[in-house]
């Protein structure tokens, strides 16, 4: 198992600590792609930021283990963690608009990640690699692009640069946090295609985070559904779509355009996602759930539905709607 997150709890806050992740566990195997899906505030970004030691200023891991190739990342020092970042673990961010330093040329920003982990390479060798990477991510006119500044590129092009940076040192694991969210739909699919070919080529595993269930369907092998800092359902991607058990998951699937019957309105889940401050005991989805019972307010339990398909709901085993 490449990555194993065990019972992760994370809290954030300057004076008072608020829990933003509650008992999150996930696994990533070699050559596997897992998807984490959830609305804003669900904790999906925080999960990966915890893995990478990139939590914001007042965040801390209060409990749990993050085992990467057997080593607990939580216990590593900043320096040791930095050795992994950019070399064995690559991260692709959303917000390609702001993810690149506006004052530095493209080639230098890609070179930076190479230089950091290959201190003995010469300038010439580094830039040879940079050019090669830019070509791999299908950027046009490399000789011109390499000397450009971020504001001169389109959103899609910038995203390709970010991918180039992430794969520069042939990492074993890629983490893509809403890597396509800010892009046009057509560009989105191009980027996803590029990612998949990179994964294949370099034998990488990936954690793909999105709020777009439709997109995840094309990318991931195994899916985790997050809500308010908790994992509500997890399973094989085909199983999740064929046999969703959690009311939230069902709601998400039903709200996909392809699932609405012709002529009918697209279904939505009533209410809005709660923030971590509003969480109470028991099931976080209680207020929006249509199959809730009183005991849901106190109790929440993980139930196995079928092979490797789990649901955190006490009513999940019941009859389908």
């Amino acid at each position: 198992m490449l990555l194993k997150v065990k019972d992760l709890h994370v809290a954030i806050g300057k004076k008072e600590k608020v829990k933003i992740l509650n008992s999150v566990s996930l696994e990533l195997d070699k050559k596997q792609v897992i998807g984490i899906i959830g609305e804003s505030g669900s904790g999906k970004s925080m999960t990966v930021k915890s893995i990478l030691n990139l939590l914001p200023k007042h965040g801390e891991i209060t409990q749990g283990e993050i085992l990467y190739k057997g080593t607990d990342l939580v216990k590593l020092s900043d320096k040791e963690m930095r050795k992994l970042l950019g070399s064995e673990i690559g991260m692709i961010f959303q917000n390609s608009m702001t993810a690149l330093n506006p004052l530095i040329k493209i080639k230098d920003q890609v070179a930076e990640v190479i230089k950091t982990h290959n201190k003995n390479l010469s300038e010439k060798e580094i830039f040879i690699r940079v050019d090669r990477l830019l070509k791999e991510v299908n950027l046009p006119n490399i000789e011109v692009v390499r000397d450009k500044y971020p504001h001169e590129l389109s959103g899609g092009q910038k995203q390709r640069v970010l991918i180039a940076i992430a794969i520069a040192n042939a990492p074993d694991m890629l983490i893509a946090d809403e890597a396509t969210t800010a892009l046009d739909v057509t560009v989105q699919f191009q980027i996803v295609k590029l990612l998949k070919s990179m994964l294949d080529k370099y034998d990488m595993s990936m954690v793909f985070i999105s709020h777009d269930l439709g997109l995840i369907r094309h990318v991931a092998d195994y899916v985790y559904i997050m809500y308010a800092g908790e994992i509500l359902e997890k399973g094989d991607v085909l199983q999740i779509f064929k046999n969703p058990k959690h009311p939230y998951t069902k709601g998400l699937i039903r709200s996909l355009p392809e699932f609405s019957k012709k002529g009918n309105k697209i279904e939505v889940i009533p209410g809005r996602a709660i923030s971590v401050h509003e969480k109470e005991e028991g099931c976080p989805f209680y207020k929006r759930c249509n199959i809730r019972v009183d005991s849901c307010k106190k109790l929440i339990k993980e139930v196995e539905i079928e092979d490797n398909h789990y649901v955190k709901c006490i009513k999940a085993g019941d009859r389908d709607e």
Binding site: L54, R82, K83, L85, M91, F93, T98, A99, P102, T116
Partner: protein, 319 residues
């Protein structure tokens, strides 16, 4: 092409400023003839009054006076001082401009040398006790009236301790005296600037540190100190450059007062004396010089911007 446009705008601005100030001055209730020769002479020597009135062109209408002046200015002739009858305005300015520019320049250097490290320190120590103290000091630095500080400093270090001369002089033959005369003025002039630059840099640094590209840099495994130097600091300097540019202008105008406190003869003290003596040509001349300096500084700043920020194209200004 852009530079041409900018230069034209600059000239237009100077033109606008001179018209405005010229008009303003013509409303002056004071009488330059009176200032020059005094009440008694005016009574007993009508012919002198007539002569001076013609010389000062006080009998001609405003527009004519203004156009005459402009034509002469373009030729480089700023006229003769009403007050110091033996000197042309150009000569008076030439005598004193070095002092003022020297004062402003040295202060600018001091502001950069102290202000920038101070700003970094403020950013680093935020939310600590030491940081709060430094913050308080910078607040005080901003609020101090610089002429008051000058008065107190002159008293403490000049009179009481005797380290510096009470009436300073800039004399390049006597370097020691020049330096000793300049230290207090330069220091008091820079206090406000140091505080302002430091605070600006601090805010800038703190903001930049939270930006997305910093997180990306961290995800590359780059060390924090490198991130601060290569990314955060460099990017924070850009807004600070504007502040420093504008600071030069305020240092130039600030020196008007400082020169007075320390009895240094620069453009500032010339301006004040001329105002008290209703010496229009000198007032106009000095103000013209100040306007030119302001316009040149802003022009330079624009060019600087294009050089350091690749997002700025000629002709656009990032607000």
């Amino acid at each position: 092409m852009y530079y041409l446009k900018r230069t034209l705008t600059a000239f237009a601005t100077i033109f606008f400023v001179t018209v405005f100030l010229f008009l303003l001055l013509q409303v002056v209730p004071g009488d330059p003839v009176l200032s020059r020769i005094g009440m008694d002479e005016m009574e007993f020597n009508p012919r002198l009054v007539e002569q001076l009135t013609r010389e000062f062109e006080l009998d001609k209408p405003i527009i004519e006076r203004y156009t005459n002046w402009i034509f002469r200015v373009v030729k480089g002739d700023l006229g003769n001082s009403f007050n110091y009858s033996n000197y042309t305005v150009n000569e008076l300015i030439a005598q004193r401009i070095t002092t003022t520019v020297l004062l402003a320049f040295l202060s600018l250097i001091l502001v950069i040398i102290i202000g920038i490290p101070l700003g970094i320190l403020l950013a680093k120590t935020e939310d600590t006790l030491g940081g709060d103290l430094l913050n308080a000091f910078s607040q005080i630095g901003l609020a101090l009236p610089n002429f008051w500080v000058a008065i107190i400093a002159l008293w403490l270090f000049g009179s009481v301790l005797g380290w510096f001369p009470i009436r300073g002089r800039i004399d390049f033959n006597n370097l020691a005296l020049t330096i000793r005369s300049l230290i207090l003025p330069v220091v008091t002039l820079s206090i406000g600037g140091i505080a302002s630059v430091a605070r600006y840099l601090k805010t800038s640094l703190i903001e930049e540190k939270e930006k997305d590209y910093v997180i990306v840099a961290k995800s590359k495994g780059v060390a924090d100190s490198t991130i601060m130097k290569k990314h955060v600091f460099r990017n924070s300097l850009i807004p600070v450059t504007t502040v420093i540019g504008l600071l030069f202008i305020s240092l130039m105008t600030g020196s008007i007062i400082i020169e007075n406190v320390f009895s240094l003869s620069g453009l500032g003290s010339l301006l004040i004396t001329s105002i008290n003596a209703n010496d229009y040509p000198v007032i106009q001349g000095v103000v013209l010089y100040y306007s030119i300096i302001v316009v040149l500084t802003t022009l330079l700043l624009d060019v600087l911007y294009v050089m350091i920020d690749p997002r700025i194209k000629l002709g656009k200004r990032r607000d």
